[in-house]
């Protein structure tokens, strides 16, 4: 049985088939990239997995559990974290509190305990903070702890979003275009981090990406999509030479 599995996943908006009977599987500990031209349905698949959209049909399995009907907030509790294409950070909060929200799925304290700020709450806060510090160290975010998001440049925000997802200690992380808007140097950093996430933190990565050099460097396998359908699946080199994929990008 595979670690994560989508079976015949479809998402229709009226007559538009954004995702059309897509099936794929992710093995534990691999980096799987989804590529495809604009509008191919890549982000829609992510939004289906994190339950922002409800699939028209098809099922999603994670660790042999059917998660198709789980409410969105439980997806994170199961250990699936994600980042967004256009950055969804908490703008008017500090970097630290953004990252601490990532710890939400591990918080166990009750409202009344928090109102009194009992020692248990304090102890929990310190545990969360320690985990957050580890992520800050992993992603070199030390200079930004107390800065407000609204004052930070785009490249840093992108890394903070990744950090927030990592703070939840995910088993599977969904990266929606991790390199969009980044310069060459930042993209390089990102590729190292993605590989380290796999090797050091043992996170399984499912990623949507346009930058083919990044895809080639980090991916174990690649899926190519067009018009909501799977064109090809396999190693990065194979997929790029697949005639259907070449046709989709260049026109035939």
């Amino acid at each position: 049985m595979s670690y994560f599995r989508a079976e015949n996943l479809s998402l229709h908006f009226g007559g538009l088939k954004a995702v059309d009977a897509v099936s794929f599987a992710v093995e534990k500990g691999e980096i799987l990239s989804i590529i495809g031209p604009n509008g191919a349905g890549k982000s829609s698949i992510f939004n289906l997995i994190s339950r922002i959209y409800r699939p028209t049909s098809g099922r999603i399995f994670f660790e042999d559990q059917d998660i198709t009907e789980e409410p969105p907030y439980d997806i994170a509790k199961l250990g699936i974290a994600r980042t967004f294409q256009n950055i969804e950070l908490f703008e008017n909060a500090t970097v630290l509190s953004n990252l601490l929200v990532g710890r939400h799925r591990h918080s166990t304290t009750q409202l009344w305990q928090e109102l009194l700020f009992l020692p248990s709450v304090r102890a929990n806060e310190k545990v969360h903070r320690r985990r957050v510090e580890q992520v800050i160290e992993f992603l070199d975010l030390e200079p930004y702890r107390d800065k407000l998001i609204s004052g930070l440049p785009y490249g840093v925000r992108k890394v903070i979003e990744l950090a927030r997802a990592l703070c939840s200690e995910p088993k599977l992380i969904l990266l929606d275009e991790p390199s969009s808007g980044l310069n060459v140097e930042e993209t390089d950093d990102m590729s190292f981090w993605i590989r380290d996430m796999k090797s050091e933190l043992g996170v399984t990565v499912l990623m949507v990406e346009h930058d083919m050099s990044l895809v080639n460097r980090v991916s174990d396998r690649v899926i190519a999509l067009n018009y909501g359908r799977v064109l090809a699946m396999g190693s990065p080199a194979d997929v790029q030479q697949h005639p259907d994929v070449v046709a989709a990008y260049l026109g035939a």
Partner: protein, 383 residues
């Protein structure tokens, strides 16, 4: 300038970041504690209102400032708290019991209001909360067996552990002050724990909050309940302070006053609720001054500039007529809100922070530090 060197995770959890805060809040508390023995009874009574308004302000801040859910229905929550107290008092329920009962009942009703509000945002939520307030106002006027309708209800003198606490006694002031302080401390505790961070997350991006495992619906309802409960507690004190309550006290205008409290104080910090409460309580004496003294003063000025007695008298009566116009208060509220939204969206506390920074950086302060930036990268798609 002071630089804080943090050496422990504790440093980010502490309520007072450094000893300077301890000193200044200590002095403030000391001044507030000796106030009833120094100040006149009129000022003390105003201070009690400041405490009550600030408590409601803190409650509204949790909902509007930190969770991002607007409400124009808080006068109704205040009314529910006040009427619960007045009703239970008839059956000789002791103060601590009906105080807690009022908070609990208001919190419960707040949660019930929160449920339909889950599907509404922005202006639609405002309209829904206004409707709720109107419904409550109507119920208070019609449900005569409990509320005595438009005749209103008399609230007996508060008795705490068998001792009578008249509404203008120092003890009553201390009671209101301690309710305010406890509310503020509780709210600060909440804001530095997971629930408070979840509230802020919902305010800034519901989609991201959800994908981080925050049950958005549950936390919105929690926020409504907490906010309403705090307002309910304030309602009990409000009823005792006025010693008489009737439906026309809890109108839309009162809800707007609460919005002004947080808008003018600054809706990003609890300081704002207190500053805003001071501001709103001071408007009334200011209006009285406008009515009583200003016409004479303006006529006097006109006279010194050579206006005849007849002209001066004419001016005086015109100004007096203007100052006692119906709805002048509402108009002034409107102007204040518009002015603050346009020129000082961070409110009085924001202004204070700017002044403080000016002196901290003295020759180097730049006006552009607080220039509002437009943020272009913001996705609206997944809302």
């Amino acid at each position: 300038m002071r630089f804080l060197f943090k050496t422990d995770y504790e440093d980010d959890i502490k309520l007072f970041p450094h000893s300077g805060y301890l000193v200044s809040y200590g002095i403030l508390l000391a001044l507030l504690l000796i106030a009833p023995f120094v100040l006149s009874s009129y000022v003390m009574s105003q201070l009690v209102f400041v405490c009550i308004y600030a408590t409601v302000g803190v409650g509204l801040l949790i909902l509007t400032g930190f969770t991002g859910q607007a409400s124009l229905g808080h006068a109704a929550f205040l009314a529910i708290g006040a009427y619960t107290a007045a009703y239970l008092q008839k059956y000789n329920v002791p103060f601590p019991v009906y105080f807690l009962a009022a908070g609990a009942l208001t919190g419960l009703i707040g949660a019930l209001v929160g449920f339909p509000a889950l599907r509404l945002t922005g202006i639609y939520l405002v309209i829904a909360t206004i409707s709720f307030a109107l419904i409550v106002e109507e119920i208070l006027a019609r449900w005569e067996s409990v509320t005595h309708g438009n005749e209103g209800m008399r609230v007996k003198t508060l008795s705490l552990l068998g001792v009578a606490v008249p509404r203008d006694s120092p003890t009553f002031y201390f009671l209101c002050l301690s309710v305010l302080v406890l509310t503020i401390v509780g709210t600060l505790n909440l804001l530095r724990s997971p629930t408070g961070r979840a509230f802020v997350a919902i305010r800034d991006s519901e989609t991201a909050a959800r994908s981080m495992g925050v049950n958005v619906a549950l936390y919105k309802v929690k926020s409504f309940a907490i906010s309403a409960a705090i307002t309910g507690f304030a309602g009990v004190l409000f009823a005792h302070k006025l010693s008489f309550i009737s439906p026309e006290m809890f109108t839309l205008q009162l809800s707007i006053e609460f919005i002004i409290v947080i808008l003018i104080g600054g809706s990003f910090s609890l300081h704002g609720a207190v500053l805003g409460a001071i501001f709103i309580v001071m408007i009334d004496p200011f209006l009285t001054y406008l009515k009583d003294d200003m016409p004479g003063m303006i006529a006097g000025i006109a006279a010194t500039f050579g206006a005849g007695t007849a002209t001066a008298g004419n001016i005086q009566s015109k100004v007096a007529a203007f100052a006692s116009l119906n709805g002048l208060k509402g108009a002034i509220y409107g102007i204040i809100i518009v002015m603050f939204v346009l020129f000082e969206p961070l409110g009085l506390y924001g202004r204070w922070l700017k002044i403080k920074l000016f002196f901290q950086l003295f020759p180097l302060y730049k006006r552009a530090t607080f220039k509002r930036q437009k943020i272009y990268v913001k996705s609206e798609r997944n809302r």
